[in-house]
Symmetry: C2
Subunit: 209 residues, 2 copies
DNA sequence: TGTACATCAGTGAACGCGCGTTCACTGATGTAC
DNA sequence: TGTACATCAGTGAACGCGCGTTCACTGATGTAC
């Protein structure tokens, strides 16, 4: 603040370094403000200690920065779920671990989670790129959930006869719980873990032990 | 367009008429664009065939217009649910009717639904007013759902032992389904009604007939 | 019935601001000779 | 080893725009006499 510092220039071949620093800055800004619309190109540049035009060497426009932030957040939530499931072999325990990990990510990184499915974006603008992203990375992640339910069913631990449909409702329910809990903190929420397990067990049709 | 028309002035005592026309204009604009941020004070004024400063006689600021739009949408979804349940006496059928009505509203009026729980708003700004609104009208609507489940349980048609918690997860799941279906239209959604009934019956613990 | 006047719904000009994007440029760094 | 030079990451000024909000005002309408 006040001190006018000129950024120390990156060495030659390291064009990607600034590119990553820009996404860092945008992600940090998002985490702070929680508002997608506060990620203006100029605000991101200020945060990265850079002048606004410098960004154009790395991103086509403001929208492209947002795409990069979303892409990174996608990777983060997938990693969070996978790390939670790591080493868990029991099918039901594995389903629980993954789902609880998903919900934990949404709870602990609310702004990052929100940007994944918030969909505040102009529907007119670049639907192809957005669609591709969602289809590819999203469906890959979704298939993990389908498999988890199918594995439970194969092991006789779930009554699911349509793992795809059951995964769909389970995912929708988890998303709804995550969204509402962060949107309505004043609501008198019952015990969180009880809600989460009720959703998982009932929608994945887990057999009562 | 191009034709500069001066608005025909409202008669004396009818100050509320313009007030309603402003909310009309804002709601229409929201329905068209689907983006909360496109409801700029000036855009609303243009849509209402009014100059921007005229709005200040009726609303304190831009945010107040949004509050009015949200308030109206709340009334609309409550009316939609109630009209769907009207005349249905069977407890389970009544629960189904209300929930399907909720989901139908979300599907047919996606932008209005989104503004209810979208929560894209500055968390710093006027949390008290927002909180009041949510607590009062929101919890009244929510209690309808709790009662519906409790009635099913009392009639032996549901195994719910905690209607409040079950209503919470059911609501969250419905919200998630509504949000995702409108956010990810390219997802290969299974049969909609099957999903909806699965969510309702499993989370409200409706007994299989 | 006729006229003067107070009311007040709505206007139009102006302000300062942050925005996205463009353009010509600068100057440290690595390389060729 | 020393020097001239091309590269290119990043700068700084400028553009036009829509925004929220303020201010002094206008002029049709209802009312008091």
């Amino acid at each position: 603040m006040g001190v006018k510092s000129v950024r120390e220039r990156n060495p030659r071949g390291q064009g990607t370094r600034l590119s990553e620093e820009i996404v860092d800055a945008a992600s940090a800004l998002l985490e702070e403000t929680g508002r997608e619309e506060s990620l203006s190109l100029r605000a991101v540049a200020r945060r990265a200690n850079i002048t606004a035009p410098s960004i154009y060497a790395h991103f086509a426009d403001r929208e492209a920065i947002l795409d990069a932030v979303i892409g990174r957040a996608f990777g983060e939530i997938i990693a969070a779920v996978e790390s939670e499931r790591e080493g868990v072999t029991d099918p039901v325990a594995s389903l629980h671990a993954g789902c609880l990990g998903y919900l934990r990510f949404a709870r602990e990184r609310p702004h990052r989670y929100r940007v994944l499915f918030g969909r505040d974006r102009d529907p007119q603008a670049r639907p192809p790129a957005r669609g591709e992203l969602d289809e590819l990375v999203g469906s890959a992640a979704f298939n993990v959930l389908v498999d988890a339910i199918a594995t439970c069913a194969a092991a006789g631990r779930s009554d699911s006869t349509d793992p795809f449909a059951d995964a769909t409702v389970l995912w929708a329910a988890m998303h709804g719980l995550a969204s509402l809990q962060q949107g309505l903190p004043l609501f008198p929420w019952p015990d969180r873990e009880q809600l989460e397990l009720a959703i998982i067990n009932r929608l994945a049709r887990v057999r009562e032990s």
